[in-house]
Symmetry: C3
Subunit: 314 residues, 3 copies
């Protein structure tokens, strides 16, 4: 399996780092690993004796848990670190903390940070693999890969698919990584959101279609990805309120009719039900929101293997 990716990179910071062939390789490996989570004994010895350090600076259930579960299903050991309770509270720089971790000979660092660029900054200075679990508004490559795995699983391919991404495009690391990944794999991406959440440059930079209203983005879409509105971070600056947002941009049965009949609904979670989409759609058979979570474990298992058992690392 790793033979097909002759130069898999040391780190995964964003999907820029991977070729289409390598993305396919990750998705194929993930597809194989899915079966492990369905076994009676959900464990393979692949990474026995390896140490994965999980370092989250931001709140997270799903992603942190998903990485922990992925590591344990591969028989790796995990140690967790959070900003509070660490030496960072003593004023140590993040790089010093990371170099100290490195001196304990871990096999991979999974890091989430509120500031864009932190995982990449560390990756360039550390000798062992760094896996970006989300940094600021920059990138969330494992989310994009699990989204792509889910799409490919249901649709049989990524090439030629039209995917609508709706919400706060400009500030979303999920949108950014998906735009890069989907376009790279031959997909067609149409994004839509309030003017305060869009940037006209997106079209050019990422090769996507940009709309101020959701309707043209939804038109003929194979999949609709609704982004989370960060209600807890908004001071009302970017949009008037949750109700207004739901009325104009939220997904509901009516609006969903614009997409293809067999279109599926994705959301990176946690969902604000009644805001990004109506509760009936969350439970609709077209919703793949929970299968996305299941695929997340498989994608992270694949990436941990590919980075730790990387035949290309010196």
């Amino acid at each position: 399996m790793t033979e097909t990716s002759p130069s898999f990179p040391k780190d995964l910071i964003d999907l820029d780092d991977l070729t289409p062939g390598q993305i396919t390789c990750v998705l194929d490996a993930a597809e194989n690993f899915k079966e492990v989570s369905e076994r009676e004994i959900k464990k393979v010895p692949t990474l026995r004796g390896k140490l994965v350090v999980i370092f989250f600076h931001e709140n997270s259930t799903r992603t942190r848990l998903s990485f922990e579960v992925a590591a344990k299903r591969l028989s790796a050991d995990t140690v967790a670190l959070s900003a509070s309770g660490s030496s960072l509270a003593k004023g140590e720089s993040l790089l010093d903390t990371a170099r100290n971790i490195e001196a304990m000979r871990p096999d991979a660092l999974v890091i989430r940070h509120g500031a864009s660029g932190v995982p990449g900054f560390l990756a360039r200075r550390l000798k062992f693999p760094v896996l970006n679990a989300g940094d600021g508004a920059h990138a969330h490559p494992t989310q994009a890969l699990l989204d792509m795995l889910t799409l490919r699983e249901v649709k049989g391919r990524l090439e030629g698919l039209k995917v609508a991404i709706i919400g706060d495009i400009a500030h979303s690391r999920v949108a950014r990584s998906n735009m890069i990944g989907l376009v790279k794999m031959g997909g067609r991406v149409a994004v839509a959101g309030p003017p305060s959440m869009l940037a006209p440059e997106l079209a050019e930079i990422y090769g996507v279609e940009v709309y101020a209203r959701p309707e043209p983005a939804l038109e003929g879409a194979d999949a609709v990805m609704m982004l989370r509105i960060q209600l807890e971070r908004q001071s009302g600056a970017l949009f008037p309120g949750a109700r207004e947002y739901a009325r104009v941009y939220g997904l509901n049965r009516e609006r969903m009719k614009l997409a293809k009949d067999d279109a599926i609904i994705l959301h990176p979670g946690p969902v604000n039900q009644g805001v990004e989409l109506t509760p009936d759609l969350y439970d609709d058979e077209r919703s793949v929101i929970l299968p996305q979570v299941t695929n997340g474990v498989a994608v992270r298992m694949a990436l941990l293997c590919l980075l730790i058992d990387n035949p290309d690392k010196e």
Copy 2:
């Protein structure tokens, strides 16, 4: 062992869920597992490759640790989740969090929550086993089972034993689960506490004797279970103060003479020494407070096995 419980329930929310035969089955299994914790290598492979999610919304040393140790001694993997640091801090509903966890294919959820009914609510909506580690003033079934294991171990039986439970009966999940369990097993339960901590309906609902003073409850008792006074939660509303409480309801050598000569003393911990009981009784040979903790690990090992390796689950 599991053969003798032909329809063990999917979840354990309270002792209502178990028949007397099933309670005996849990206690027998726990008795067998006790030996594992005394070995040189304190580990059996029973739950290898299984994942136990431990989700505590309230402070706890003993119970959380006890479940973690139980899971690890069975070779299961554990992942921990707390309210802070989870997506709940982003406003996600508890059910959404639980369904997301479910999508990662865990084998059991151990949950403690401040609100009565939460574990049962989740259990009805999730396909995998839910184990209540204490919910509000509702139930604490693993505590009651470890209490019963301790009683049975010392007294050789549960049937016909008189157990006095003294303290804040009305607001105690420990008292409630013990009343249900002990009466179900043929025990005789006498409860006592200040009027603000009793409810006359208890007699009828649970089939127990209710007294306003500890003396008649202690009279001829085989065991005395002192409940923790929640000093940290009291605003002085339920009783005048710790000293007054100790004088009227606290256990001391004098009062202990009312019980049988070979009566034992239980407490779910943490103990407020000098309030619920005098320090000399905590260390008295009749005290089984620390053996209760040892038994807690064994009871939780038994329950994890019975729920996860449940032959009745589809």
Copy 3:
């Protein structure tokens, strides 16, 4: 290996507890364990089925992580406990918490506490091994042992070495444990620091040389150990400020010339770069600050083994 330490103590509270022969035994064992962290599969089955409880009351990255990694590389299980989230938040005494932990049959307790004497207090009351991971201004024996391992590794011996320790000698558990250990092993220790951070009694109690200025301590030293200035704890009482401190006591290239040509630089971390030492020295080839961290894992592996597999315990 353990044969050479016929009466290894039940606990490790400070280096007072160990004879020179036992210290050598720990360092030899650690040297052997270093190799495990460099393997492809970084794990040995030595402590399989053993439970290590890690109880940190103070912030720490390095030490907590180092113990967790050490335990996992020996195949032990670990459970972590912090002050918040534990029953201590319910007002339970530390001893009660520890006795409850004991009742769950752990194999070792690793404890860090802000109050001097706490690990020793618990060790005398618990039947299982207690390992001091730092208590107040009292002792930090695993740090001193990893410092000694690093020194011995580079210099080939400890006897006859001159080690300068510079900083807040009077309030540093690192300094205290190192003074005891190094003098015990035949080293010569010279300490220096501002008057508010020294005590004239040190010379007599520990058999070290005490200087008010760094220069005479550095003179001809084989190694320089810079202590961390607790900027976060200082209210300006002990020294005028970080800049003034750096100018008079900080290590720089110029001052380093006083030491031997092949002198090495140690620091327990986290380093305040530009305060205790200039950033160029942190990255200098004479700096062994990161090798110290690597050695920390090995020393803790050795100690966990020697305490848990102690042939002398009844």
